[in-house]
């Protein structure tokens, strides 16, 4: 059985919120839209989002690190939000493992949101229906898009490729390999919801600052580089900073 999921690399997420805005843009204009924005330019704005980037600080100064932490629906393999739905609007799709909402059946009772320990569901204030991340179900199977574009909007938007997308039940997929090789973990394992989305933990890398001599900014390549522009062109390697003049 296929289980599509995101794997999020906490080593490279820079907290730029590009996935948040891209998600909102696609999903407010796509098949699951619209997503309300109340008082967007006024006091007390409020709106529906499927994806958030949060920031956490671990440790104490001077050994503190800031971790940017994207959070959306985890598409649990045993989703607690699905069996509680009284109408069957909330369901888990067999063919790709997505947890989806059939908006036309939703009565807006909010019970599924209570039953999600991750706070992944939001009731849209205008539509009064429960909404959530669909893993861009209207993109990932769309054969009118190029194959590269058949990915969730957040994945395509990420400038650091912190978000991987694929089938975690396929052992050869990029996400399965990432989970296996880099210790991918699930959130709140204590509730046994088996989230499909995984997170790749931060790795400690050995110091490689300028003082170590391994930093590219202190290589002697600049010194050995020909000084004249013509000589540089001859070599096919322009070093523009060397020809800059102060005016």
């Amino acid at each position: 059985m296929t289980q599509m999921a995101l794997v999020i690399d906490l080593n490279v997420c820079v907290g730029c919120h590009a996935c948040v805005t891209s998600c909102k843009e696609w999903n407010t204009s796509g098949e699951s839209g619209s997503l309300a924005d109340l008082n967007p330019y006024d006091a007390d704005p409020s709106g529906t989002f499927f994806n958030r980037v949060q920031s956490f600080e671990a440790g104490s100064y001077p050994n503190a690190e800031t971790i940017h932490f994207p959070k959306s629906c985890l598409h649990c393999e045993d989703p607690p939000c699905v069996p509680v739905c009284p109408t069957g609007a909330s369901y888990k799709r067999k063919e790709d493992g997505l947890v989806l909402v059939d908006f036309d059946k939703c009565i807006g009772c909010k019970y599924c949101a209570w039953a999600c320990p991750y706070g992944a569901r939001e009731l849209d204030e205008e539509r009064k229906e429960m909404t959530k991340c669909t893993l861009c179900v209207d993109r990932i199977h769309d054969e009118n898009l190029s194959e590269r574009d058949r990915q969730p909007a957040c994945v395509l938007a990420c400038p650091t490729s912190a978000r991987l997308f694929g089938d975690i039940h396929d052992p050869e997929s990029v996400v399965s390999k990432a989970i296996r090789e880099r210790g991918g973990y699930q959130l709140m394992p204590e509730w046994d919801t088996k989230p499909a989305n995984h997170y790749l933990p931060r790795k400690t890398t050995s110091a490689s600052g300028c003082g170590e001599g391994s930093c590219s900014c202190k290589t002697d390549s600049a010194e050995s580089m020909p000084q004249t522009v013509d000589a540089q062109l001859e070599r096919g390697q322009l070093h523009l900073a060397s020809i800059a003049t102060r005016i």
Binding site: F56, A58, G59, K71, P86, C106, I107, P117, K128
Partner: protein, 316 residues
């Protein structure tokens, strides 16, 4: 959790309606066995009319909880998995039983006791469904306990018996002392089980921590930004925004008004000889207890700490 008043009124009103029907059928069964003198028909008819009215008001209140009340009929579909769906089936069934129980008494039908027994079954099933809606959410640790079911049953029965005691003072004063004793016993039992759940919940250690919520392996992890400064559903639905002092006040308030005051009022009301004063005191007991139970149910929601709140701890 942020208490939803629609659900607070639904559970308290329907609980009182269920307890009231159980009490009426209890009286009829005891009279059938010859344990007490049979009360007049008006006692049963008024009682079941009150039960239908309270349950109906609860049903109306529940519609205010829905974003799309016009689709509410769909809620009976998933009774195989959802306690909420089962409740949506049991509540109308209970209301029908209470209605036909009153009709049977109105027309002097010999089937009234059998209908009443069916009503008690529907009432019991409805108690189980209503309580399990909350008790089945395993990560809301304050709710995930058999005490939730015990509280729903005992508090519903206590308020129903208090109502029946007040009705009996008007229609069948001979029964008042006995019913008041039952109502006081149920109220005290409800006080015991609610106090037990208060003690339990005060000692709970949340299973989810910010470490398990983020998977960051460090003894000290704090949120520095929830990722937005605006309002959101997750903030409105899961944070009540009241101070610890307010919660403490509501807690002691409902312990006084739902349990202590009604017992005192019922003892006084059952003891006086004047029927007029007795009715006034017992009606006051019903109203005070109902107000207390509304506060109790509000507190029940407010004291539940949803694990999603770990992700929404700081604005930034």
């Amino acid at each position: 959790m942020n208490p939803a008043f629609s659900v607070v009124f639904l559970t308290t009103l329907s609980g009182a309606a269920q307890g009231l029907l159980i009490a009426l059928v209890g009286v009829e069964a005891a009279a059938y066995l010859g344990l007490l003198a049979a009360p007049p028909t008006a006692f049963y008819v008024t009682g079941s009319a009150l039960s239908v009215a309270l349950g109906g008001l609860g049903l109306i209140a529940s519609f205010f909880h829905l974003g799309h009340p016009e689709r509410a009929w769909r809620a009976v579909a998933m009774w195989r998995t959802s306690w909420l769906s089962r409740e949506c089936l049991c509540l109308p069934a209970f209301l029908a039983c209470a209605f036909f129980y009153g009709v049977a008494h109105w027309f002097g039908s010999p089937w009234s006791l059998a209908l009443g027994a069916l009503g008690v079954l529907a009432s019991a099933a409805l108690f189980v469904c209503s309580a399990m809606i909350y008790a089945c959410l395993r990560f809301l640790q304050e709710w995930a306990t058999p005490l939730t079911l015990a509280n729903f049953v005992l508090l519903g029965c206590a308020s129903g018996f208090t109502l029946v005691t007040a009705l009996s003072a008007w229609f069948a004063p001979a029964l008042t002392a006995g019913l008041a004793a039952c109502a006081c016993a149920l109220t005290l039992a409800g006080c015991a089980s609610r106090s037990a759940s208060l003690v339990r919940n005060a000692r709970l250690r949340p299973k989810s921590t910010v470490q398990s919520a983020t998977g960051i392996k460090n003894a000290k992890v704090v949120q520095v930004s929830r990722g937005f400064t605006a309002g959101a559903f997750n903030l409105r639905e899961f944070f009540h925004g009241k101070s610890a002092g307010t919660l403490r006040g509501v807690k002691w308030g409902f312990l006084g008004t739902a349990f202590v005051a009604p017992v005192v009022l019922m003892t006084l009301g059952a003891g006086v000889h004047s029927i007029g004063i007795s009715v006034v005191l017992l009606a006051a007991a019903c109203l005070v207890q109902y107000a207390g139970l509304v506060a109790e149910r509000w507190f029940f929601f407010a004291e539940a700490k949803h694990p999603q709140n770990l992700y929404y701890a700081r604005v930034g």
